[in-house]
């Protein structure tokens, strides 16, 4: 039988999954940790390539230490394993190993720590080659020490843009500017540095100083409204966030990185049947969780950014908190006492407040989306996989789908391509809501702003399915 059974099954080896694994394994529970990447660490502790390590060293050594601790505690680490589905019992997870072999994974408790997706907004020209997301650029820079282009503009919103620009500089790129949709960096940043949790803001100030030294202009209140170019991007047009329809200046580039932060990756939680709701501030679909990360499904926890975007420190605490609750449930001698519980809870609350505070420095995602969508040309491609235009989504939503996101999807094909809506989903959901706003109580019908989760979460080789079926046959 190829079902792996354990006490706790954790999907996602980023900060949240790792911190949960360490706490649980230290208490003696049998833990299996699955991650589709070849190395543990997730987004934040992603390990650089050996060449980059030799040259620049590890910029986040605490990540390597956490991974080493998890391994030394005997956690069954399954890297290169993609979890793509849920079995008919609604509980056993289905995965594919690095060689394509199928696995069934079962834990008495399950922690979903699948992290976040980058948030993109469509704009004319975003389908051109060399237009990427900041995360992709950061990945190139951190893992391989390269940049997506020579002259690069970094744009969008959120604290993440600054370290990306710094990484690109370090990789030898000419960063022609950073365009931030809000006005977070003056003078409020200095004021906010005095807050109770200054480390992260001080870190940001450090990045800003670094960019200033390299004479990289930091434009605030600006968004990319268009990318132009023949066979790849050659220029980017900037506009005021408040008036994205009116171009202000054009910048020559050969790569453009645009992203508006992150949104939770909830596919697996939703496949497991966890209840989700729309977050009023971000407009995102988030699993409904309590302070411990418990979901509506007994024994299923969501931790880290999969439960709501909040940065690495919050992800670490959320992972540890879910682990603490599992130890309580297990009646483990290593279960946290009331003092530790109170401490974790207080830390969680403080980080939540801090997230809210630092989020407040940046424009509200829901408002930003609405502003950007309002000026989107009808002929802008919204779903790149299927080449669906804004007009097609708008007319499907307003005329026939009556604000129903799934109907808009089937009437327009937006979100039906290879990425299954991972890139366009947020924008399509927003366009549908805007278009339906005009139809009577249409907006109410949009429900949760996300396409339904479907198996497989990512495309799975038919060979894997055949092998899984043969196993079942063999088991009688």
């Amino acid at each position: 039988m190829t079902t792996t059974a354990c006490d706790v099954l954790i999907v996602g080896g980023g900060p949240a999954g790792l911190s949960a694994a360490a706490r649980l394994a230290a208490a003696g529970l049998a833990v299996t940790l699955v991650d589709e990447q070849p190395e543990l660490g997730g987004q934040y502790y992603r390990s650089p390539s050996p060449a980059v390590l030799r040259e620049h060293g590890d910029h986040r050594p605490e990540g390597g230490r956490l991974v080493a601790r998890v391994r030394s505690l005997g956690v069954d680490c399954r890297t290169g394993h993609l979890v793509w589905g849920v079995d008919d019992d609604g509980r056993t997870l289905l995965g594919t190993g690095p060689d394509g072999s199928p696995v069934r994974l079962r834990g008495r408790h399950v922690i979903v720590a699948t992290g976040a997706y980058e948030r993109t907004h469509p704009f004319p020209g975003w389908q051109l080659p060399s237009v990427t997301t900041p995360g992709f650029a950061q990945h190139l820079a951190a893992a391989d020490g390269t940049s997506p282009g020579r002259r690069v503009l970094v744009a969008g919103s959120g604290p993440f843009l600054l370290p990306v620009a710094c990484s690109l500089l370090a990789a030898g790129a000419d960063v022609v500017g950073v365009a931030e949709a809000g006005h977070p960096y003056r003078p409020s940043l200095r004021a906010a540095t005095a807050l109770r949790h200054p480390a992260r803001l001080r870190e940001l100030a450090g990045y800003a100083a670094r960019l200033a030294r390299a004479r990289v202009p930091l434009w605030q209140g600006r968004v990319v409204s268009r990318a132009s170019g023949a066979d790849r991007v050659s220029s980017a047009t900037l506009a005021a966030t408040a008036d994205p329809g009116r171009p202000l200046r054009t910048v020559d580039v050969d790569a453009l990185c645009v992203g508006y932060g992150f949104r939770p990756q909830t596919d697996l939680a939703r496949l497991l049947g966890c209840e989700i709701r729309a977050d009023a501030v971000t407009g995102d679909a988030e699993p409904v969780t309590d302070a411990f990360g418990r979901t509506s499904r007994p024994g299923v926890y969501v931790a880290g950014e999969a439960a709501g975007v909040g940065g690495v420190h919050r992800a670490l605490v959320r992972g540890a908190t879910a682990a603490a609750h599992i130890l309580l449930r297990e009646g483990s001698p290593a279960a946290p006492g009331p003092r530790e519980i109170a401490r974790l809870a207080a830390r969680g609350r403080a980080l939540t407040r801090f997230t809210a505070l630092s989020d407040a420095l940046y424009p509200s995602q829901a408002e930003l989306r609405k502003a950007l969508a309002a000026t989107l040309d009808d002929d802008t491609i919204v779903c790149r996989c299927e080449a669906v235009t804004a007009a097609a989504v708008r007319s499907a939503a307003a005329e026939r789908a009556g604000g129903d996101l799934n109907a808009a999807k089937s009437w327009s094909r937006a979100g039906m391509g290879p990425c299954q809506g991972r890139f366009c989903g947020f924008a399509v959901a927003g366009l549908v809501r805007d278009a339906a706003g005009d139809a009577a109580d249409g907006a109410a019908r949009c429900g949760v702003p996300v396409f339904p989760a479907r198996q497989p979460i990512r495309p799975v080789p038919v060979e894997t399915l055949l092998a899984l079926g043969e196993q079942d046959g063999g088991d009688g």
Partner: protein, 392 residues
């Protein structure tokens, strides 16, 4: 509360509702179409979209009785002919494609069944050709070694369901029909010699009601005090990533539920009626992994190139089945003006049933003989607690 009048109230905006509304509105009738949700999202938005012209596989997995192929085939023949004019009538492309299909056999019994089926097809005027295994592989080299025989039918085809229902509804609206999505029907009662239908905050009075609510056809009938034996189920579909044009034809299996074809966008669609985990009458039915594995394994056995593909997604859709697996269409005895249509292979039959429903409303002869397909065979005592009781 607004009260409307119409000639016909169509309940359900699936492909049958769309086709009925189109034919009726084009015929000059005042038509109101009601749907509880967004149009074309249920059976008609999840269907495989095959135009089945040669005999269909007689046993969907889990299906209790085989359908009566000898009786069914003349209907398929008529439905096939009717599709020829659909794109011209709707003034748009629905990606209609008649590139023919193979039905394959593996075992000796299936081979015998294939030959019997060929004889029925002959009688119904459907041209098919029987090939042995090597002949089949010569005609379609993609077929695998387990195939021992196949019938080829040049009329089998496909239309894109995500275009077809919208096109019918749009054409109906052009001809004056009024479409009310998100308008769930709550009551259906007699009013004088006609009917009063309450849906959302609308009330519509009309001499005719057309119940084409798919899997909920029985529920709507029950509102009108009519008990109909229906057996709704949910079945699933499996689709691979896109590939270059590889498979021009529809491939089906005579003994097991299997249908495979490549759609215009390039994806391979694998179906055949494998059951979903359960039917979720109020929402999305969840797929069953064992059906995924069974259906995909069959496809890879019959068409070995499938092994090298990747599965992109799966979904399940609801289906209105009758206990005898035959379509139901006609007026309910004792309920003048109350017409029903639905059941097996309603996508293939939509153009034919749309026109047939218009003829029924007009009291004219129908394009095919439907006397034995009426709802009388499904009648049973209505559930006593139906809301209509108090309304009377």
């Amino acid at each position: 509360m607004s009260a409307l009048t119409a000639d016909v109230v169509v309940i359900g905006a699936g492909v049958l509702g769309g086709a009925a509304a189109f034919h009726l509105a084009r015929g000059g009738h005042r038509v109101i179409v009601l749907d509880r949700g967004a149009p074309g999202r249920e059976g008609s938005g999840t269907t495989a979209g095959n135009l089945h012209v040669q005999a269909v596989h007689t046993r969907r997995p889990g299906q209790e009785v085989p359908l009566d192929s000898a009786r069914f085939l003349p209907l398929q023949r008529a439905a096939s002919d009717r599709w020829n004019s659909v794109e011209a009538e709707l003034e748009t492309s629905v990606e209609l494609r008649r590139s023919g299909g193979f039905t394959i056999a593996e075992t000796p019994e299936q081979r015998a069944e294939l030959i019997a089926k060929h004889a029925w097809e002959d009688r119904a005027g459907i041209r098919t050709e029987v090939l042995d295994g090597d002949g089949a592989r010569a005609a379609l080299p993609l077929l695998g070694p387990t195939v021992t025989a196949a019938t080829w039918c040049p009329l089998d085809g496909y239309a894109n369901p995500l275009l077809t229902t919208p096109a019918y509804l749009a054409a109906a609206v052009r001809h004056g029909a009024r479409l009310h999505p998100f308008c769930p029907v709550r009551a259906v009662e007699r009013s004088g010699s006609g009917w009063r239908v309450t849906a959302g905050d609308l009330t519509v009075e009309a001499p005719h009601v057309v119940d084409v609510a798919g899997p909920w056809l029985g529920e709507i009938a029950a509102l009108a005090g009519i008990g109909l034996r229906m057996t709704p189920v949910a079945i699933q579909m499996h689709v691979t990533v896109r590939l270059p044009e590889t498979l021009r034809h529809l491939v089906q299996h005579i003994g097991e539920g299997l249908s495979v074809k490549q759609v215009t966008a390039g994806n391979l669609l694998i179906g055949g009626g494998w059951p979903a985990l359960r039917l979720e009458p109020d929402g999305r039915s969840p797929v069953s992994l064992s059906s995924v594995l069974g259906n995909v394994a069959q496809a890879a056995r019959v068409l070995p190139f499938v092994r090298d593909l990747r599965l992109l997604r799966t979904w399940a859709g609801p289906l209105a089945a009758t206990p005898d697996e035959m379509p139901v269409i006609g007026e309910v005895p004792g309920a003048p003006g109350f017409l029903v249509a639905g059941g097996t292979y309603a996508f293939t039959f939509a153009p034919l049933w749309g026109e047939t429903l218009r003829c029924l409303v007009e009291g004219k002869p129908t394009p095919v003989d439907i006397r034995d397909l009426g709802p009388d065979r499904l009648l049973e005592p209505a559930a006593p607690a139906a809301p209509y009781e108090e309304a009377r």
